[in-house]
């Protein structure tokens, strides 16, 4: 009896020490993985800052506020690409977020079960299409249509309006920031909607059924049960789409027009940070030119960071209000 209990105690002891060791190793492994992200981010940011230091030294703060981009005179400024990046991403999110909501809610709450699989598969397929295909589709299909039908109508009917009209004046080229925003929207919809669909499915049926039992309509269930329950995950999905929209290169280059002009009109061509780098990197033949392009890369980093931080703060504000 006492012998048996002794061996048991020894076994437990042995196990405990082994478990402890394994646990420590596991902890180290996951910590390393976590820090790897931080390290990569820091290394990428620092090396781009270092590469762009010549541009920052030469132009100083003016690099951020200048609209100049003149390779002949060696004068570079980042305002036009920054503006283009932010505006196209904003248009994309304005269109993509409501549509993605619709898709995800339809799939989880409204649609008959047999339709869920084909539509879900279609979304995943859309997410897998390479961006250059979206770019070509935008240029060869969307651009002529917008240029012939939509842009002239906008210019004539919305253009004369006060304030908002400024956004929709211009020659109907079909190429421009609005087109780029539209293509980006279509590209990010699969990302946002598939994340939303996944998280909407995690809402416990118990909660929804209780609400229905109390006489709620589907709309009420969505607004008062599904959305509050999944809010932070939904916003995570939107961030994912926003990140892609800010950094997208190929598709934007095809339809944006790549012109270094600052204009209020969404119908006019513009430029984005990623498109500028992709276009001009190979032939950037002076150190200052190359440095300016790398500095642009660093600024894209900063812009993404700022946009995501603002979104995070908004989320925190939302949570605080809810607590009250």
């Amino acid at each position: 009896m006492s012998v048996a209990s002794n061996t048991l105690a020894m076994e437990v002891d042995d196990r405990a020490s082994k478990d402890g060791r394994n646990d420590r190793m596991f902890r180290w492994a996951v910590t390393a993985a976590g820090f790897f992200v931080l390290l990569t981010l820091l290394a990428a940011g620092l090396s781009m800052f270092w590469g762009g230091r010549e541009a920052f030294q030469t132009f100083g703060f003016g690099f951020l506020t200048s609209t100049d981009w003149d390779p002949v005179q060696q004068k570079f400024g980042a305002l036009v690409p920054i503006y283009g990046t932010v505006v196209t991403a904003a248009i994309a999110m304005l269109i993509a977020v409501p549509i993605s909501f619709g898709i995800a809610l339809f799939l989880t709450e409204v649609s008959p079960t047999w339709m869920r699989t084909p539509i879900g598969a279609a979304i995943e397929l859309l997410a897998g299409i390479p961006s250059i295909i979206y770019g070509m589709w935008g240029l060869f299909v969307l651009v002529p249509y917008l240029g012939e039908h939509v842009f002239p109508w906008l210019d004539e009917n919305v253009g004369p309006l006060p304030i908002i009209g400024k956004l929709f004046q211009g020659p109907p080229l079909g190429i421009g920031m609005l087109t780029a925003g539209l293509v980006l929207a279509i590209m990010v919809i699969p990302f946002i909607s598939s994340v939303m669909r996944e998280v909407f499915l995690t809402v416990p049926t118990r909660l929804k059924e209780s609400a229905y039992a109390l006489g709620s309509t589907t709309t009420e269930v969505v607004w008062h049960i599904v959305l509050p329950y999944t809010r932070s995950a939904v916003i995570g999905g939107i961030f994912l789409g926003l990140g892609r929209a800010l950094g997208e290169t190929m598709a934007v280059t095809f339809v944006l027009g790549n012109a270094h002009f600052l204009t209020t009109s969404l119908l006019e061509p513009g430029n984005s940070i990623a498109a500028t780098i992709a276009n001009e990197f190979t032939e950037a033949d002076s150190p200052l030119y190359l440095s300016s392009l790398i500095a642009l890369g660093f600024l894209l980093f900063v812009v993404t960071f700022i946009v995501l931080s603002i979104a995070k703060f908004m989320l925190m504000g939302l949570k605080r209000r809810e607590g009250n």
Partner: protein
């Protein structure tokens, strides 16, 4: 039996493999995209005849110059010639490889290729955004009888840096003082107007998509894609349709004899039948290379190209160098490339 046969075949293959690697050393080059089709055709033909391989990477003129300076390739290639002072500083030499040309293309209904005419100053004014409608009297004056619409002109330029752009804006700088002071020349410039497409294909696609647009591409690209190109008035006052013959006339009339290190941009050539926006591609090599054997092979390759590559170049829409120029290049080699 079969086993020994297999073995002997394997041994033979191995021996052959060794023989090839020992004999042929691959030469490498990098630079302008403009010559890539010609260079790869020449390289394939050269490989059939001699068994030697030439690998060319079309990374752009700026990249080509950077790579040869970094000594990672045996030859670099650029659409803009390097200045003799820069060449001397790095101990480099340069010579022309092949000739092409840049043509204006338009998207206007009912106008046939070559039917619309431009002058250099008019092209400059259009690209400056000063002439911005197709019914402008300046266009009508030199195109009597052409149905020019009341349509806004949209300029399409390259969004990436390019030798094509270099030759185009070099010409505009030569013929328009205003262009020279306001914009200047380079592989990429600050465009006063218009939209930018990536590569010849990007410019062609934008021009096709935007009614009333005008762009510029290499002739071979315009011919293959059946784009509507225009004729341009040359220095001698004649309107010249871009063609292999008119590029050849430009190359023949350019003053190569008095150029140092072939530093000459062929635009606005003086010949009576010369097309004014003809362009030359240049090959850049070290005068005292690190790897003598490979540089010698590279030189042999271009020697072979000048002797045997004309048909291949012409079939791709390029223009071979005039014989006098080839003689001058071989003399240049003899004095500068002593390896």
């Amino acid at each position: 039996m079969t086993k020994s046969l297999k073995l002997s075949i394997a041994a033979l293959a191995l021996a052959a493999g060794f023989a090839v690697t020992a004999q042929a050393e691959d030469i490498t080059g990098a630079g302008a995209t403009f010559v890539y089709p010609a260079l790869s055709k020449w390289s394939a033909d050269y490989n059939k005849v001699t068994g030697n391989q030439v690998n060319y990477q079309s990374i752009g003129s700026g990249g080509g110059i950077a790579q040869i300076k970094a000594k990672t390739v045996d030859f670099g290639s650029s659409d803009a010639p390097m200045k003799p002072a820069d060449l001397a500083q790095f101990g480099l030499g340069q010579f022309p490889s092949v000739i092409g040309g840049v043509v204006p293309i338009v998207n206007l209904k009912g106008i046939a290729p070559g039917a619309i005419k431009f002058t250099g100053p008019l092209l400059a004014d259009i690209f400056l955004g000063k002439v911005n409608n197709w019914n402008d009297p300046a266009i009508a004056a030199i195109n009597p009888g052409l149905p020019l619409p009341d349509k806004r002109i949209t300029v399409v330029h390259r969004s990436d840096g390019s030798g094509t752009t270099f030759n185009w804006v070099n010409y505009l700088s030569k013929v328009s003082p205003e262009w020279k002071t306001k914009v200047g020349e380079g592989t990429s410039v600050k465009w006063p107007a218009g939209v930018g497409g990536k590569g010849n294909e990007g410019v062609a696609a934008y021009t096709k998509q935007i009614p009333g647009s005008i762009g510029y591409v290499e002739l071979s690209y315009a011919l293959v894609n059946k784009l509507v190109y225009g004729a341009v008035k040359n220095k001698a006052g004649k309107f010249i349709t871009p063609s292999i013959a008119s590029f050849q006339a430009a190359a023949a009339s350019a003053d190569w004899k008095n150029s140092k290190d072939f530093f000459l941009v062929m635009t606005d050539a003086p010949g009576a039948d010369a097309y004014p926006i003809a362009a030359t591609n240049f090959i850049i090599m070290y005068k005292k290379p690190k790897n003598v054997a490979r540089s010698r092979q590279a030189r042999e390759f271009f020697k072979w190209v000048y002797a045997n590559g004309d048909a291949a170049a012409t079939s791709l829409g390029y223009v071979p160098l005039p014989p006098a120029l080839v003689t001058q290049i071989e003399a240049y080699w003899a004095t500068n490339f002593k390896f």
